[in-house]
Symmetry: C2
Subunit: 359 residues, 2 copies
């Protein structure tokens, strides 16, 4: 595979700049940076300080010289404790391994600052490519973060997986839930549910926006009326699912069914409902995104909207290898599937949610 990496202006610090800043010859700077033994402690200190100060990146430079392949990639996922992402990371890592590539995994922890710290480290380290679950645009500027822009202009082969950034031209492997949500809402309606709540994710995640928008379309397609009072905006993590569980029980519209936009929020919510004696299925029909183990061992098993994570990992590695080979793969979408399970049941003539709310 040939590399088409190019350096952006802001990264183009050369060994000459380092030598000049350190007040030594280029030959001396070169010896220090290559680990040549014939260097003095004083020049080592000066050169290393200057290299650090200037953000000199011998690795990026080496890459621009089309020299060393590292046979390694980095994968930045958005939450290590979310079983959806650990399953996805496993899939990427195992498919990369099959392709002869070692994977280093980083955790953004659903936090733009942590994402950017990882990306900054990647700029100065040698990897053959990056697979990123992006944290979304900056809320004020509506642009990618400065660090994301530096990565995208650095020439490091990069793709997005699971999430994308609006307006940013990076090959992305995402999932489309329109069809699955349409089927889920149609099923709920046929079982007598009219008031369907939606527990969504944070607006920085493209998946959260896609899912809520597809839910609204599904309501309209099925002749149901959307109601902003039935929309809870969570953060994709368990604590917000627990809050959503309480919110739902106290909701004046008395929803008889709920769709939850990821597994960690469902885990948080299911625990609250169990503790309060709410019977999933009989009292409340629950559907969740992400077909992870915890949803399948739950009694009753939880209806899910999900896609094949091994396939998503495989497509991500394939797309990255195409970028590494200088090609421009098209974005690809997996189509999510709705799987009906006993957590979804007929709506009762009278809801019995009242009295289940904590005082």
């Amino acid at each position: 595979m040939s590399k088409q990496g190019s350096l952006s202006a802001m990264n183009a610090v050369t060994i000459k700049d380092v030598a000049s800043a350190a007040g030594v010859s280029v030959a001396t700077a070169s010896r220090v940076l290559s680990g040549h033994p014939a260097t003095s402690p004083a020049s080592r200190t000066k050169v290393e300080s200057a290299a650090k100060e200037l953000g000199f990146m011998p690795n990026a430079q080496a890459r621009s010289l089309r020299s060393t392949k590292t046979d390694s990639i980095a994968l930045l996922i958005s939450d290590l404790r979310n079983p959806y992402f650990s399953d996805l990371a496993h899939a990427v890592e195992q498919h990369a391994r099959t392709a002869g590539l070692m994977t280093f995994i980083g955790n953004a922890n659903e936090d733009a600052a942590q994402q950017d710290d990882f990306l900054a480290t990647m700029l100065s380290r040698r990897v053959d490519g990056l697979v990123i679950v992006p944290q979304g645009l900056n809320e004020e500027s509506n642009q990618p973060s400065e660090m994301m822009n530096r990565v995208l202009s650095s020439g490091i082969p990069t793709i997005f997986v699971d999430r994308a950034l609006p307006g940013v031209q990076v090959p992305a492997i995402t999932a489309n839930s329109a069809q699955a949500l349409d089927e889920a809402v149609a099923t709920l309606k046929s079982l007598g549910h009219q008031n369907i709540a939606f527990v969504g994710g944070p607006k920085h995640a493209s998946t959260a926006l896609e899912r809520y928008s597809a839910f609204e379309t599904a309501l309209a397609n099925n002749g149901l009326v959307g109601d902003e009072a039935l929309h809870f905006v969570g953060d994709f993590q368990p604590a917000s699912g627990a809050l959503a569980a309480q919110w739902l029980l106290e909701n004046p519209a008395k929803p008889s069914a709920v769709i939850i936009a990821d597994a960690p929020m469902s885990i948080g919510a299911l625990r609250v409902w169990r503790e309060l004696g709410v019977r999933v299925g009989a009292d409340l029909s629950v559907t969740t995104f992400d077909e992870v183990d915890a949803m399948l061992i739950h009694d009753p098993p939880i209806a899910t909207i999900g896609h094949d994570l091994s396939q998503m990992g495989k497509m991500a590695v394939q797309a990255l290898r195409e970028v590494m080979a200088g090609q421009k793969p098209e974005p690809e979408e997996l189509i999510s599937k709705f799987t009906l399970r006993p957590s979804v049941a007929p709506a009762k003539a009278t809801q019995v949610m009242e009295g289940k709310v904590r005082p």
Copy 2:
């Protein structure tokens, strides 16, 4: 923090060796390896081939010169999809972040070959330290793998977490389950259980050996007789838990209670029991290692043996920083806790397990 890194004999390939093998001067080799622009394509090819052939490690060399701190560490966990390890990785990563260290996570996938591939990559890349969940001794030689030995003699500051290697002098943060198992077995006995099955892990994992040994001691302490026919040797992954679930139902000794040595095996087993209509608690008392979310949303909630993973992550980062500072921290043990939950119930006078087995 100063570094006390030293190079082992087997890693001591110098830039002179590379130059000699490439048939170029040391100055030329140095220029190529530092990314100096004044190099010819021919010499680049020769030097890079020679460096690769010889396993030249400029980074390790640079480390021995006490030069650049990278402010990054690598963490090798044994199974990314095991929620215990993703929770532990999150804890290590977040505590490292607080200490100003970026974490790169690798996945051994419960496989010694995958562990060794990751370690090989670490030998040639610059990290300030390594936190490893080791895969155990080589089954034939009863020694650490060659790659593990190379890492341990490379001078890269290294600690073990969760698991250790017998006879290998590396600071380790582990958990001790003796007390918790004693309490679990005493509780089961007081509820009338006599035949307690144990679903254990693979012998390459020190945790699997520690847990089974502590279980046998707990039986003896409580006046119960161990029975090898009640011991299932699994592999810490869900499919072996599913096999164990069937094995238990078909076991002639008709165990009325079971202790399972990790969460993924429990997830595999619980799914089988639910599908076969076995009522956890009423029909079979279940206790599992690892207090992960899936065990708490299960109905009934599952009794667990576990320890504080945030604390384990914190202790691991602390120990690694001590090694990085040239100190020799003592091994430390967390004491696991038994938490009784409704998955454990009184044994019935007559077990009703028969008839629940698939034909």
